[in-house]
Symmetry: C2
Subunit: 243 residues, 2 copies
Protein backbone atom coordinates (compact mmCIF):
# COMPACT_ATOMS: atom_id res chain seq x y z
CA UNK A 1 0.00 0.00 0.00
CA UNK A 2 0.98 3.66 0.16
CA UNK A 3 0.30 6.80 2.10
CA UNK A 4 0.58 10.22 0.46
CA UNK A 5 -0.62 13.64 1.68
CA UNK A 6 -0.68 17.09 0.10
CA UNK A 7 -1.79 20.17 2.02
CA UNK A 8 -2.50 23.59 0.47
CA UNK A 9 -2.11 26.53 2.85
CA UNK A 10 -2.21 30.30 2.68
CA UNK A 11 1.59 30.32 2.84
CA UNK A 12 2.37 27.42 0.54
CA UNK A 13 2.23 23.66 0.18
CA UNK A 14 3.42 20.66 2.20
CA UNK A 15 3.58 17.23 0.57
CA UNK A 16 4.82 13.85 1.77
CA UNK A 17 4.90 10.21 0.68
CA UNK A 18 6.02 6.93 2.21
CA UNK A 19 8.28 4.46 0.38
CA UNK A 20 6.78 1.01 0.71
CA UNK A 21 5.48 -0.96 -2.23
CA UNK A 22 4.33 -4.51 -1.99
CA UNK A 23 2.64 -7.32 -3.85
CA UNK A 24 1.81 -9.54 -0.89
CA UNK A 25 3.62 -9.46 2.45
CA UNK A 26 6.35 -11.72 1.06
CA UNK A 27 7.21 -9.28 -1.67
CA UNK A 28 7.82 -5.73 -0.54
CA UNK A 29 10.31 -3.13 -1.58
CA UNK A 30 11.29 0.49 -1.23
CA UNK A 31 10.62 3.05 -3.95
CA UNK A 32 10.52 6.81 -3.81
CA UNK A 33 6.98 7.92 -4.70
CA UNK A 34 7.84 11.63 -4.97
CA UNK A 35 8.84 13.31 -8.23
CA UNK A 36 10.01 16.93 -8.32
CA UNK A 37 10.18 19.28 -11.30
CA UNK A 38 11.90 22.60 -10.55
CA UNK A 39 12.98 25.38 -12.89
CA UNK A 40 13.09 29.17 -12.51
CA UNK A 41 9.38 29.68 -13.32
CA UNK A 42 7.90 26.59 -11.66
CA UNK A 43 8.13 24.06 -8.86
CA UNK A 44 5.92 20.99 -9.23
CA UNK A 45 5.72 17.86 -7.06
CA UNK A 46 3.90 14.60 -7.82
CA UNK A 47 3.13 11.86 -5.28
CA UNK A 48 2.32 8.45 -6.79
CA UNK A 49 -0.19 5.86 -5.59
CA UNK A 50 -1.31 2.64 -7.24
CA UNK A 51 0.49 -0.11 -9.11
CA UNK A 52 4.16 0.76 -9.29
CA UNK A 53 4.37 -0.29 -12.95
CA UNK A 54 1.61 2.15 -13.87
CA UNK A 55 2.84 5.12 -11.85
CA UNK A 56 6.46 4.67 -12.99
CA UNK A 57 5.32 4.55 -16.61
CA UNK A 58 3.31 7.78 -16.16
CA UNK A 59 6.23 9.62 -14.49
CA UNK A 60 8.70 8.43 -17.11
CA UNK A 61 6.32 9.50 -19.87
CA UNK A 62 6.02 12.95 -18.26
CA UNK A 63 9.82 13.25 -18.15
CA UNK A 64 10.23 12.07 -21.75
CA UNK A 65 7.52 14.45 -22.96
CA UNK A 66 9.35 17.20 -21.09
CA UNK A 67 12.42 16.54 -23.21
CA UNK A 68 10.59 16.29 -26.52
CA UNK A 69 10.28 19.25 -28.85
CA UNK A 70 7.03 18.28 -30.59
CA UNK A 71 5.35 21.40 -29.27
CA UNK A 72 2.60 19.88 -27.10
CA UNK A 73 2.32 21.20 -23.53
CA UNK A 74 4.57 19.38 -21.08
CA UNK A 75 5.80 19.76 -17.51
CA UNK A 76 8.21 22.58 -18.55
CA UNK A 77 5.92 24.41 -20.95
CA UNK A 78 2.41 24.10 -19.41
CA UNK A 79 1.11 27.60 -18.79
CA UNK A 80 -0.91 26.72 -15.67
CA UNK A 81 -1.04 23.93 -13.13
CA UNK A 82 -4.41 22.96 -14.60
CA UNK A 83 -2.80 22.53 -18.01
CA UNK A 84 -0.03 20.41 -16.50
CA UNK A 85 -2.46 18.18 -14.60
CA UNK A 86 -4.31 17.69 -17.87
CA UNK A 87 -1.00 16.40 -19.30
CA UNK A 88 -0.72 14.03 -16.30
CA UNK A 89 -4.30 12.92 -16.91
CA UNK A 90 -3.56 12.21 -20.58
CA UNK A 91 -0.52 10.14 -19.59
CA UNK A 92 -2.55 8.16 -17.05
CA UNK A 93 -5.13 7.40 -19.75
CA UNK A 94 -2.45 6.44 -22.30
CA UNK A 95 -0.79 4.01 -19.91
CA UNK A 96 -4.18 2.73 -18.78
CA UNK A 97 -5.22 1.98 -22.37
CA UNK A 98 -1.97 0.11 -22.89
CA UNK A 99 -1.94 -1.90 -19.61
CA UNK A 100 -5.59 -2.43 -18.70
CA UNK A 101 -6.45 -5.29 -21.10
CA UNK A 102 -3.50 -7.43 -19.96
CA UNK A 103 -4.13 -6.66 -16.28
CA UNK A 104 -7.83 -7.43 -16.47
CA UNK A 105 -7.13 -10.84 -18.02
CA UNK A 106 -5.62 -11.70 -14.63
CA UNK A 107 -8.35 -9.95 -12.61
CA UNK A 108 -6.01 -7.06 -11.77
CA UNK A 109 -7.10 -3.44 -11.95
CA UNK A 110 -5.10 -0.63 -13.48
CA UNK A 111 -4.52 1.84 -10.67
CA UNK A 112 -2.38 4.97 -10.91
CA UNK A 113 -3.33 8.14 -9.10
CA UNK A 114 -1.38 11.24 -8.16
CA UNK A 115 -1.39 14.17 -5.81
CA UNK A 116 0.04 17.08 -7.81
CA UNK A 117 1.01 20.33 -6.14
CA UNK A 118 3.08 23.36 -6.99
CA UNK A 119 3.18 26.75 -8.60
CA UNK A 120 3.79 28.08 -12.10
CA UNK A 121 4.67 31.76 -12.43
CA UNK A 122 1.56 33.82 -13.13
CA UNK A 123 -0.75 32.05 -10.73
CA UNK A 124 -0.99 31.06 -7.05
CA UNK A 125 0.12 27.63 -5.82
CA UNK A 126 -2.44 24.90 -6.55
CA UNK A 127 -3.06 21.33 -5.42
CA UNK A 128 -4.76 18.55 -7.41
CA UNK A 129 -5.59 14.87 -7.06
CA UNK A 130 -5.94 12.65 -10.12
CA UNK A 131 -7.79 9.33 -10.30
CA UNK A 132 -6.94 6.08 -12.10
CA UNK A 133 -9.55 7.02 -14.73
CA UNK A 134 -7.60 10.21 -15.48
CA UNK A 135 -10.15 12.67 -14.16
CA UNK A 136 -9.02 15.01 -11.39
CA UNK A 137 -10.10 17.44 -8.66
CA UNK A 138 -8.53 20.59 -7.22
CA UNK A 139 -8.28 21.58 -3.55
CA UNK A 140 -10.14 24.75 -2.58
CA UNK A 141 -11.15 26.74 0.44
CA UNK A 142 -13.47 23.98 1.72
CA UNK A 143 -10.99 21.13 1.35
CA UNK A 144 -7.33 21.97 1.60
CA UNK A 145 -5.76 18.54 1.59
CA UNK A 146 -5.73 15.31 -0.36
CA UNK A 147 -4.66 11.90 0.84
CA UNK A 148 -4.17 8.74 -1.19
CA UNK A 149 -3.59 5.13 -0.15
CA UNK A 150 -3.98 4.17 3.53
CA UNK A 151 -5.61 7.49 4.32
CA UNK A 152 -7.96 6.73 7.20
CA UNK A 153 -5.61 6.21 10.16
CA UNK A 154 -3.94 9.56 9.65
CA UNK A 155 -7.01 11.61 8.72
CA UNK A 156 -8.32 12.54 12.21
CA UNK A 157 -5.19 14.52 13.16
CA UNK A 158 -5.28 16.45 9.87
CA UNK A 159 -9.01 17.10 10.32
CA UNK A 160 -8.33 18.46 13.82
CA UNK A 161 -5.29 20.62 13.13
CA UNK A 162 -5.16 21.96 9.58
CA UNK A 163 -6.87 25.24 8.65
CA UNK A 164 -6.01 27.53 5.72
CA UNK A 165 -3.88 29.71 7.99
CA UNK A 166 -1.88 26.90 9.63
CA UNK A 167 1.82 27.74 9.28
CA UNK A 168 4.02 25.65 7.02
CA UNK A 169 6.06 24.52 10.06
CA UNK A 170 2.90 23.32 11.84
CA UNK A 171 1.61 21.61 8.70
CA UNK A 172 4.94 19.74 8.42
CA UNK A 173 4.56 18.48 11.99
CA UNK A 174 0.92 17.55 11.43
CA UNK A 175 1.74 15.58 8.30
CA UNK A 176 4.57 13.73 10.10
CA UNK A 177 2.28 12.89 13.04
CA UNK A 178 -0.29 11.65 10.53
CA UNK A 179 2.38 9.35 9.03
CA UNK A 180 3.44 8.20 12.48
CA UNK A 181 -0.15 7.21 13.39
CA UNK A 182 -0.57 5.42 10.07
CA UNK A 183 2.68 3.46 10.36
CA UNK A 184 1.88 2.35 13.91
CA UNK A 185 -1.48 0.94 12.84
CA UNK A 186 -0.67 -0.43 9.39
CA UNK A 187 2.34 -2.44 8.23
CA UNK A 188 1.88 -1.58 4.56
CA UNK A 189 3.03 2.03 5.05
CA UNK A 190 6.70 2.48 5.97
CA UNK A 191 9.68 4.81 6.12
CA UNK A 192 11.58 6.48 4.63
CA UNK A 193 9.18 9.41 4.31
CA UNK A 194 9.91 12.00 1.65
CA UNK A 195 8.66 15.43 2.66
CA UNK A 196 8.76 18.80 0.93
CA UNK A 197 7.71 22.28 1.91
CA UNK A 198 7.03 24.93 -0.70
CA UNK A 199 6.67 28.60 0.18
CA UNK A 200 4.56 30.84 -2.06
CA UNK A 201 6.36 32.53 -4.97
CA UNK A 202 9.76 30.90 -4.41
CA UNK A 203 9.55 28.62 -7.50
CA UNK A 204 11.90 26.34 -5.64
CA UNK A 205 11.25 23.89 -2.79
CA UNK A 206 12.59 25.63 0.27
CA UNK A 207 12.65 22.43 2.35
CA UNK A 208 13.12 18.86 1.24
CA UNK A 209 14.01 15.97 3.49
CA UNK A 210 14.01 12.19 3.50
CA UNK A 211 13.19 10.84 6.96
CA UNK A 212 14.96 7.46 7.17
CA UNK A 213 14.20 4.80 9.79
CA UNK A 214 15.65 6.10 13.06
CA UNK A 215 15.76 9.74 11.91
CA UNK A 216 16.36 11.62 15.18
CA UNK A 217 13.99 14.50 14.33
CA UNK A 218 11.20 12.11 13.45
CA UNK A 219 11.82 10.00 16.55
CA UNK A 220 11.73 13.08 18.79
CA UNK A 221 8.50 14.22 17.19
CA UNK A 222 6.97 10.75 17.45
CA UNK A 223 7.97 10.38 21.10
CA UNK A 224 6.80 13.89 22.05
CA UNK A 225 3.49 13.24 20.34
CA UNK A 226 2.96 9.86 22.03
CA UNK A 227 3.81 11.23 25.45
CA UNK A 228 1.69 14.32 24.90
CA UNK A 229 -1.33 12.33 23.75
CA UNK A 230 -1.05 9.96 26.72
CA UNK A 231 -0.80 12.88 29.10
CA UNK A 232 -3.85 14.62 27.56
CA UNK A 233 -5.59 11.29 27.92
CA UNK A 234 -4.68 11.02 31.59
CA UNK A 235 -6.18 14.47 32.21
CA UNK A 236 -9.50 13.80 30.49
CA UNK A 237 -12.43 14.00 32.88
CA UNK A 238 -13.86 10.60 33.82
CA UNK A 239 -17.22 9.83 32.28
CA UNK A 240 -19.98 10.30 34.81
CA UNK A 241 -22.61 7.65 34.38
CA UNK A 242 -26.31 7.88 34.90
CA UNK A 243 -26.45 4.25 35.95
Amino acid sequence: MTYCVGVLLKDGIVMASDSRTHAGVDNFAQFCKMSVFEREDRAIVLLSSGNLAGTQAVITTLKQRGESTDGGPNVWTARTMFDFVTVVSDSVRDIGRRDRPSLEKNDLKFDASFIVGGQIKGEAPRLFRTYAEGNFVEAGSGTQFFQTGEAKYGKPIIDRVITPTTSLADAVKCVLVSFDSTMRSNLSVAMPIDLVQYENDQFKLNRRHRFEVGDPHFETLSRSWSEGVRSVFKQLPDVRWNK
Copy 2:
Protein backbone atom coordinates in the same frame (compact mmCIF):
# COMPACT_ATOMS: atom_id res chain seq x y z
CA MET B 1 -21.50 1.72 7.72
CA THR B 2 -20.87 0.98 11.38
CA TYR B 3 -18.26 1.30 14.05
CA CYS B 4 -18.05 -1.21 16.91
CA VAL B 5 -15.28 -1.80 19.45
CA GLY B 6 -14.74 -4.40 22.18
CA VAL B 7 -11.79 -4.22 24.59
CA LEU B 8 -10.75 -7.02 26.96
CA LEU B 9 -8.82 -5.85 30.05
CA LYS B 10 -7.47 -7.36 33.22
CA ASP B 11 -10.40 -5.82 35.11
CA GLY B 12 -13.20 -6.52 32.64
CA ILE B 13 -14.62 -5.58 29.27
CA VAL B 14 -15.67 -2.33 27.54
CA MET B 15 -17.84 -2.48 24.43
CA ALA B 16 -19.47 0.21 22.29
CA SER B 17 -21.37 0.58 19.03
CA ASP B 18 -22.71 3.44 16.95
CA SER B 19 -26.30 3.54 15.65
CA ARG B 20 -26.19 4.49 11.98
CA THR B 21 -27.29 2.16 9.21
CA HIS B 22 -27.54 3.19 5.62
CA ALA B 23 -28.11 1.95 2.13
CA GLY B 24 -26.81 4.96 0.26
CA VAL B 25 -26.58 8.48 1.67
CA ASP B 26 -30.24 9.06 0.83
CA ASN B 27 -31.41 6.17 2.96
CA PHE B 28 -30.04 6.14 6.48
CA ALA B 29 -31.61 5.26 9.78
CA GLN B 30 -30.91 4.67 13.43
CA PHE B 31 -30.78 1.18 14.91
CA CYS B 32 -29.26 -0.06 18.13
CA LYS B 33 -26.48 -2.51 17.28
CA MET B 34 -25.95 -3.73 20.83
CA SER B 35 -27.73 -6.76 22.30
CA VAL B 36 -27.38 -7.66 25.97
CA PHE B 37 -28.13 -11.00 27.65
CA GLU B 38 -27.92 -10.88 31.46
CA ARG B 39 -28.89 -13.49 34.03
CA GLU B 40 -27.41 -14.45 37.41
CA ASP B 41 -24.66 -16.69 35.95
CA ARG B 42 -23.80 -14.73 32.81
CA ALA B 43 -23.55 -11.33 31.14
CA ILE B 44 -23.10 -11.38 27.37
CA VAL B 45 -23.02 -8.49 24.89
CA LEU B 46 -23.14 -8.68 21.09
CA LEU B 47 -22.27 -5.80 18.72
CA SER B 48 -23.59 -6.21 15.16
CA SER B 49 -21.96 -5.18 11.88
CA GLY B 50 -23.02 -5.87 8.33
CA ASN B 51 -26.38 -5.88 6.55
CA LEU B 52 -29.05 -5.00 9.05
CA ALA B 53 -31.39 -7.71 7.71
CA GLY B 54 -28.75 -10.37 8.35
CA THR B 55 -27.67 -9.22 11.82
CA GLN B 56 -31.27 -8.71 13.00
CA ALA B 57 -32.16 -12.22 11.82
CA VAL B 58 -29.18 -13.69 13.71
CA ILE B 59 -30.01 -11.82 16.93
CA THR B 60 -33.69 -12.76 16.73
CA THR B 61 -32.75 -16.39 16.10
CA LEU B 62 -30.48 -16.31 19.16
CA LYS B 63 -33.33 -14.93 21.26
CA GLN B 64 -35.83 -17.48 19.94
CA ARG B 65 -33.41 -20.36 20.50
CA GLY B 66 -32.95 -19.03 24.02
CA GLU B 67 -36.65 -19.49 24.63
CA SER B 68 -36.90 -22.95 23.08
CA THR B 69 -36.69 -26.11 25.13
CA ASP B 70 -35.31 -28.45 22.47
CA GLY B 71 -32.21 -29.04 24.58
CA GLY B 72 -29.53 -27.65 22.23
CA PRO B 73 -27.10 -25.13 23.77
CA ASN B 74 -28.36 -21.55 23.61
CA VAL B 75 -27.46 -18.15 25.04
CA TRP B 76 -28.86 -19.13 28.47
CA THR B 77 -27.55 -22.70 28.63
CA ALA B 78 -24.12 -22.53 26.89
CA ARG B 79 -21.51 -23.72 29.40
CA THR B 80 -18.72 -21.46 28.10
CA MET B 81 -18.39 -18.31 25.99
CA PHE B 82 -16.76 -20.47 23.31
CA ASP B 83 -19.86 -22.68 23.23
CA PHE B 84 -22.11 -19.62 22.95
CA VAL B 85 -20.04 -18.08 20.14
CA THR B 86 -20.35 -21.43 18.36
CA VAL B 87 -24.14 -20.99 18.61
CA VAL B 88 -23.77 -17.47 17.13
CA SER B 89 -21.61 -18.91 14.37
CA ASP B 90 -24.25 -21.57 13.58
CA SER B 91 -26.93 -18.88 13.40
CA VAL B 92 -24.79 -16.74 11.08
CA ARG B 93 -24.32 -19.73 8.80
CA ASP B 94 -28.04 -20.63 8.87
CA ILE B 95 -29.08 -17.10 7.92
CA GLY B 96 -26.29 -16.92 5.35
CA ARG B 97 -27.49 -20.14 3.69
CA ARG B 98 -30.99 -18.75 3.56
CA ASP B 99 -30.17 -15.21 2.31
CA ARG B 100 -27.01 -15.56 0.24
CA PRO B 101 -28.52 -16.94 -3.00
CA SER B 102 -31.08 -14.12 -3.26
CA LEU B 103 -28.54 -11.45 -2.37
CA GLU B 104 -25.97 -12.70 -4.85
CA LYS B 105 -28.52 -12.60 -7.66
CA ASN B 106 -28.38 -8.81 -7.19
CA ASP B 107 -24.60 -8.67 -6.69
CA LEU B 108 -25.00 -8.10 -2.96
CA LYS B 109 -22.90 -9.93 -0.39
CA PHE B 110 -24.23 -11.51 2.76
CA ASP B 111 -22.43 -9.74 5.59
CA ALA B 112 -23.10 -10.26 9.29
CA SER B 113 -20.32 -10.16 11.85
CA PHE B 114 -20.31 -9.72 15.60
CA ILE B 115 -18.10 -8.72 18.47
CA VAL B 116 -19.16 -10.95 21.37
CA GLY B 117 -17.93 -10.29 24.90
CA GLY B 118 -18.90 -11.34 28.37
CA GLN B 119 -18.53 -13.85 31.13
CA ILE B 120 -20.23 -17.12 32.05
CA LYS B 121 -19.75 -18.38 35.62
CA GLY B 122 -16.86 -20.84 35.79
CA GLU B 123 -14.48 -18.99 33.48
CA ALA B 124 -12.88 -15.56 33.06
CA PRO B 125 -14.42 -12.87 30.79
CA ARG B 126 -13.73 -13.50 27.11
CA LEU B 127 -13.99 -11.49 23.90
CA PHE B 128 -14.61 -12.86 20.38
CA ARG B 129 -15.11 -11.59 16.86
CA THR B 130 -17.12 -13.58 14.33
CA TYR B 131 -16.93 -13.24 10.54
CA ALA B 132 -19.65 -13.34 7.89
CA GLU B 133 -18.51 -16.90 7.07
CA GLY B 134 -19.28 -17.96 10.65
CA ASN B 135 -15.69 -18.60 11.75
CA PHE B 136 -14.41 -16.62 14.70
CA VAL B 137 -11.35 -15.51 16.67
CA GLU B 138 -10.77 -14.80 20.36
CA ALA B 139 -8.82 -11.89 21.87
CA GLY B 140 -5.72 -12.84 23.85
CA SER B 141 -2.73 -11.30 25.53
CA GLY B 142 -1.26 -10.10 22.20
CA THR B 143 -4.46 -8.51 20.88
CA GLN B 144 -6.94 -7.24 23.41
CA PHE B 145 -9.43 -5.48 21.20
CA PHE B 146 -11.58 -6.02 18.15
CA GLN B 147 -13.08 -3.40 15.89
CA THR B 148 -15.61 -3.86 13.09
CA GLY B 149 -16.86 -1.48 10.41
CA GLU B 150 -15.12 1.89 9.94
CA ALA B 151 -12.23 0.80 12.14
CA LYS B 152 -9.24 2.69 10.77
CA TYR B 153 -9.87 6.29 11.88
CA GLY B 154 -10.21 5.28 15.51
CA LYS B 155 -7.48 2.65 15.66
CA PRO B 156 -4.42 4.86 16.34
CA ILE B 157 -5.73 6.11 19.69
CA ILE B 158 -6.54 2.57 20.84
CA ASP B 159 -3.12 1.37 19.67
CA ARG B 160 -1.48 4.16 21.65
CA VAL B 161 -3.44 3.93 24.89
CA ILE B 162 -4.78 0.45 25.62
CA THR B 163 -2.69 -2.13 27.48
CA PRO B 164 -3.97 -5.15 29.43
CA THR B 165 -3.78 -3.19 32.69
CA THR B 166 -5.58 -0.05 31.47
CA SER B 167 -8.39 0.71 33.92
CA LEU B 168 -12.01 0.32 32.86
CA ALA B 169 -12.55 4.07 33.30
CA ASP B 170 -9.62 4.87 31.00
CA ALA B 171 -10.74 2.29 28.45
CA VAL B 172 -14.20 3.91 28.39
CA LYS B 173 -12.62 7.29 27.64
CA CYS B 174 -10.32 5.81 25.00
CA VAL B 175 -13.23 4.10 23.24
CA LEU B 176 -15.26 7.34 23.27
CA VAL B 177 -12.32 9.33 21.87
CA SER B 178 -11.95 6.65 19.19
CA PHE B 179 -15.63 7.13 18.28
CA ASP B 180 -15.22 10.91 18.29
CA SER B 181 -12.29 10.72 15.85
CA THR B 182 -14.21 8.33 13.61
CA MET B 183 -17.36 10.45 13.52
CA ARG B 184 -15.39 13.61 12.71
CA SER B 185 -13.75 11.95 9.72
CA ASN B 186 -16.58 9.74 8.43
CA LEU B 187 -20.25 10.55 7.97
CA SER B 188 -21.37 6.92 7.96
CA VAL B 189 -20.73 6.50 11.69
CA ALA B 190 -23.04 8.49 13.97
CA MET B 191 -24.49 8.89 17.43
CA PRO B 192 -26.13 7.73 19.58
CA ILE B 193 -23.30 5.55 20.92
CA ASP B 194 -24.25 2.61 23.12
CA LEU B 195 -21.51 1.83 25.62
CA VAL B 196 -21.22 -0.81 28.33
CA GLN B 197 -18.63 -1.56 30.96
CA TYR B 198 -18.42 -5.00 32.56
CA GLU B 199 -16.34 -5.64 35.67
CA ASN B 200 -14.96 -9.15 36.26
CA ASP B 201 -17.18 -11.59 38.16
CA GLN B 202 -20.20 -9.28 38.48
CA PHE B 203 -22.35 -11.24 35.96
CA LYS B 204 -24.14 -7.96 35.39
CA LEU B 205 -23.13 -4.88 33.39
CA ASN B 206 -22.07 -2.36 35.98
CA ARG B 207 -22.27 0.57 33.55
CA ARG B 208 -24.50 1.04 30.55
CA HIS B 209 -25.16 4.32 28.80
CA ARG B 210 -26.52 5.65 25.54
CA PHE B 211 -24.68 8.81 24.47
CA GLU B 212 -27.21 10.82 22.45
CA VAL B 213 -26.30 13.73 20.16
CA GLY B 214 -25.39 16.62 22.46
CA ASP B 215 -24.72 14.39 25.50
CA PRO B 216 -22.93 16.78 27.88
CA HIS B 217 -20.40 14.17 29.10
CA PHE B 218 -19.49 13.21 25.56
CA GLU B 219 -19.25 16.86 24.50
CA THR B 220 -16.97 17.68 27.44
CA LEU B 221 -14.76 14.71 26.63
CA SER B 222 -14.68 15.60 22.94
CA ARG B 223 -13.83 19.25 23.64
CA SER B 224 -11.16 18.40 26.24
CA TRP B 225 -9.60 15.95 23.84
CA SER B 226 -9.58 18.38 20.90
CA GLU B 227 -8.11 21.17 23.00
CA GLY B 228 -5.56 18.82 24.57
CA VAL B 229 -4.45 17.44 21.22
CA ARG B 230 -4.08 20.93 19.76
CA SER B 231 -2.07 22.06 22.75
CA VAL B 232 0.25 19.00 22.54
CA PHE B 233 0.58 19.84 18.89
CA LYS B 234 1.53 23.46 19.63
CA GLN B 235 4.28 22.22 21.96
CA LEU B 236 5.85 19.76 19.51
CA PRO B 237 9.41 20.71 18.61
CA ASP B 238 9.77 22.19 15.14
CA VAL B 239 11.41 19.92 12.61
CA ARG B 240 15.00 20.92 12.04
CA TRP B 241 15.90 20.51 8.41
CA ASN B 242 19.20 19.53 6.88
CA LYS B 243 18.45 21.66 3.88
